[in-house]
């Protein structure tokens, strides 16, 4: 399973990698733009990501915009519904409300910081990637 982690904070990024590495090969991006590029590159190479974790608050392009762009790109590429990448949004408590209201239909799950091993395991099971 190819996994993309988009997170601007170095230590948080390392944590996500540490938590997700056991489930597959992890790539990292430091903002939304990099995440979108990585998403497209992977598709172009014929090895798309199975899971993307998007932190909401990132510089350059935030997680919400990246989410929308990735979904648009998938539509452009005529990717069928079940083949679409699973996206988990990484949020802080404050932002929960906004995401739940606006992006419910676009993302597959949420992880609320601080993130621990048990939460990740539970969420991966829920969205059906493990």
């Amino acid at each position: 399973m190819k996994i993309l982690i988009a997170e601007d904070d170095f230590y948080s990024r390392k944590l996500m990698m540490a938590l997700l590495s056991p489930f597959g090969e992890c790539d990292v991006a430091v903002n939304g733009i990099e995440a979108c590029e990585a998403f497209e590159d992977a598709h172009d190479a014929g090895t798309p990501y199975r899971l993307i974790c998007l932190d909401i608050m990132m510089p350059e392009m935030d997680g919400q915009e990246a989410l929308r762009k990735i979904r648009d790109e998938e539509d452009k590429r005529l990717i069928s519904r079940h083949e679409k990448v699973k996206i988990i949004m990484i949020t802080a408590l404050d932002e929960m409300k906004a995401i739940m209201e606006s992006y419910h239909s676009l993302c597959d799950g949420y992880l609320m910081k601080p993130i621990n091993h048990a939460m990740v395991l539970k969420q991966l099971k829920e969205i059906g990637v493990i």
Binding site: D9, Y11, S12, K14, L15, A18, L19, M57, A92, L93, D94, K97, K113, P114, I115, N116, H117
Partner: protein, 701 residues
């Protein structure tokens, strides 16, 4: 003679009768003959001759009898008797009986007869005339009497009428409400209606007796005017009206309205002054009060710090206060009474309709104002009050004006005009904009802080957890123990950060509630399920009773209510020793019934959810009851370390409750041990628990 004289001759001797007849017929008389007395009387009654000549000596009925009878039946007809010579006694007897004259037989000279006849006839005519004259006189006297009687009757009747009229006028004059009077040219009262007593306290008799009385009553301040008036009416004989004060015997001052005019006789002679005085004290006092009130209102109007003016129904300016003069530089006398939107010129430079016109005539002014309406912002109409904001030309560019206009009504509820106020809100608006900008900056700062503070913690907590669960290989017991400390401290720090951020959000007004229907029973049981785990570890029993009358849902922010509830419950468990109990109860209360508990917040009227959490813990000292809701306060500061927590929970919970329109307070447990925390949240939801449902789910012990 026009008519021949009719002569009746009564004689038994035909020859004598014949000779009389011949003689008289020659004299153009008409002669009737009777040969005896009875026949003569009969003829006399029938023919009514002018003269009867009768013989005295006749058979059957003699001349005396004839005279006697004729004297009775025809007394007016003269009778001449014919007697023989030497029968003077006969003649005397006949004349005594009523004969008028006599002729002696033989008649030697017929002229003599003629003389007698003429004399008798003349006498008869005189008597006749006399009688006629007498009759006429009597008639005249009679007429005169009737006339006099009629006249007397008329006079009597007229007199009665006059008396009646006079009485009527007297009554009218004596009972007039106003004081009617007539003063003669000498200045004395000829008449004064009794009503003067009601007005002055002096009787009409007093005024009539003392011409100077009125003068004495006049208030000293009005005396000069009074004298001047008396002079002009009395001497110049001019009508006049004026008002003056009098001092009554009881010392009270009354206002008199005086009207008078000179009276002249038929020949134009001056008869004096006739007039009336009315007591107008009430009117005067009302006028004075009105004047005072108007002055007071004008002072109030002038005091208003907002430029304010008013117009009447004809859109003419009726008031223009001091602030208006100061703001526009236009003095009141320049605009008072003027129309044609003159009041808009100082504000806009040219006449145009304003809100005040819209307030006066909403239907027609709407069209007038329409082209100008986009010059206003925040235009609103509420209960006839129209408010709007705009930037006016009056002041330097960038000034903001706030306008408010409304209709004015008179006491009958009829539209009397409109009023408009204008306020320079530039400073206010700039301050508001600055506040908004500062608030936005604070908000942005909070959001950044929130992220920046929590991001490192995410890594700390995540990695500590990963190592502790041996995700990176084996660790020894000490390492596991110490990692536990790192985790607990980090989580505490995170909670602290979260609470501080929440608190500052509430304080800066940034905390927004996401209102929805909250199933309060579900929220309570949900929170209880989480807390039960901790409670069971410490052997603390949890009791929960649900009021079956509680509405099924209330309106609120579910997450925040959960936060409050969880805070109260975890506090209760935290401060309750092993083996104790925590009881949650619900109910509904009105705002009035929660005024008594010791808290300083006034609640709006309405129904509230009342939730109480009772513990058997360490309790709160009376003096700490309020302090515990302050940030970083616990009942006993020494116990802060002992009982973990951010120290912000209660103050945050209270703020969240207040955001909902409710509150939180605490009292010592009336059972003796521990304390009771109360939470109220307004209910504005009608749906209630179904009773059967309550029985199944309501009681959860």
């Amino acid at each position: 003679m026009v008519n021949p004289i009719k002569i009746l001759i009564i004689d038994d001797e035909a020859m004598l009768r014949e000779s009389f007849k011949n003689y008289f017929e020659d004299e153009d008389a008409f002669v009737l003959e009777a040969s005896n007395g009875a026949e003569g009387i009969e003829l006399c009654l029938k023919e009514r001759p002018d003269l009867v000549i009768t013989d005295l000596r006749m058979p059957v009925m003699n001349g005396f009898d004839v005279i006697e009878q004729l004297k009775v039946v025809t007394p007016e007809i003269p009778i001449i008797v014919v007697s023989g010579q030497g029968t003077t006694n006969d003649v005397i007897a006949a004349i005594r009986l009523g004969a008028w004259d006599y002729i002696t037989k033989p008649i030697l000279k017929l002229e003599e007869l003629s003389i007698v006849v003429q004399r008798v006839l003349e006498r008869a005519r005189l008597i006749q005339d006399n009688i006629a004259y007498k009759n006429k006189l009597e008639q005249l006297l009679d007429d005169n009497r009737i006339y006099r009687e009629h006249l007397e009757e008329l006079v009597h009747k007229r007199t009665e009428q006059l008396k009646e009229v006079a009485a009527k006028y007297q009554i009218v004059a004596d009972h007039t409400y106003s004081w009617e009077f007539w003063i003669n040219p000498q200045g004395q009262f000829v008449y004064s209606s009794p009503s003067c007593f009601r007005i002055t306290g002096h009787t009409d008799d007093e005024f009539i007796a003392n011409p100077a009385l009125l003068h004495e009553l006049v208030h000293p301040d009005d005396l000069a005017d009074y004298k001047c008036h008396r002079h002009s009416s009395q001497l110049d004989q001019e009508p006049g009206t004026f008002e003056f004060r009098i001092i009554r015997p009881d010392g009270t001052i009354h206002w008199i309205h005086h009207d008078c005019q000179p009276v002249f006789g038929d020949q134009g002679q001056f008869l004096g002054i006739r007039g009336s005085n009315r007591d107008v004290t009430v009117r005067k006092l009302t006028q004075e009060a009105l004047l005072k009130s108007e002055k007071r209102l004008a002072a109030i109007f002038d005091f208003l710090p907002d430029a304010t003016w008013a117009i009447n129904k004809e859109s003419r300016v009726i008031a223009w206060n001091k602030a208006c003069q100061e703001l526009t530089g236009v003095s009141a006398d320049k605009v008072m009474g003027k129309g044609d939107y003159c009041y808009s010129i100082p504000f806009y430079g040219s006449p145009r309709p304003m809100l005040i016109d819209f307030a006066l005539e909403p239907s027609s002014a709407r069209e007038l104002l329409d082209p100008y309406l986009n010059g206003y912002t925040n235009f609103s109409i509420e209960n006839g009050n129209i408010t709007a904001e705009s930037s006016g030309l009056l002041l330097a560019e960038g000034r903001y004006l706030w306008w408010k206009a409304t209709r004015l009504y008179d006491s009958d509820g009829q539209v009397a005009g409109a009023i408009e106020s204008v306020r320079d809100i530039t400073e206010l608006r700039l301050a508001k904009e600055a506040a908004i900008a500062s608030s936005r900056a604070k908000s942005a700062f909070l959001a950044t802080m929130s992220h920046e503070l929590r991001t490192p913690l995410n890594a700390i907590i995540g990695f500590s957890d990963l190592i502790r669960i041996k995700g990176c290989g084996e660790i020894n017991d000490s390492q596991e123990e110490y990692l536990g400390y790192i985790l607990d401290s980090s989580k505490h720090l995170l909670a602290l950060i979260n609470d501080i951020l929440d608190l500052s959000k509430v304080e800066s007004g940034k905390m927004e509630l996401t209102l929805s229907k909250v199933d309060i029973h579900r929220v309570i049981t949900g929170s209880l399920n989480i807390i039960k785990k901790y409670a069971e570890q410490q052997g603390i029993a949890i009791y929960y009773t649900l009021d079956e009358h509680l509405p099924k849902v209330i309106r609120g922010d579910e997450l925040k209510i959960k936060q409050i509830l969880f805070n109260l419950l975890s506090n209760a468990v935290k401060f309750t020793p092993n083996g104790g109990s925590v009881t949650v109860s619900t109910g509904t209360v009105t705002a009035e019934s929660v005024q008594s508990p010791p808290h300083n917040q006034e609640l709006p009227v309405g129904n509230y959810l009342l939730l109480s959490v009772t513990d058997t813990g360490i309790g709160i000292k009376k003096e700490d009851i309020h302090r515990i809701f302050e940030p970083f306060e616990q009942s006993d500061n020494s116990s802060t370390r002992q009982h973990e927590g951010t120290g912000l929970g209660l103050s945050l919970s209270k703020m969240l409750a207040q955001l909902h329109g409710g509150t939180i307070w605490a009292t010592p447990n009336p059972e003796g041990v521990g304390s009771v925390f109360y939470l109220t949240i307004p209910i504005n939801q009608q749906a209630r628990y179904n009773k059967s449902l309550t029985k199944c789910k309501g009681s959860n012990q």
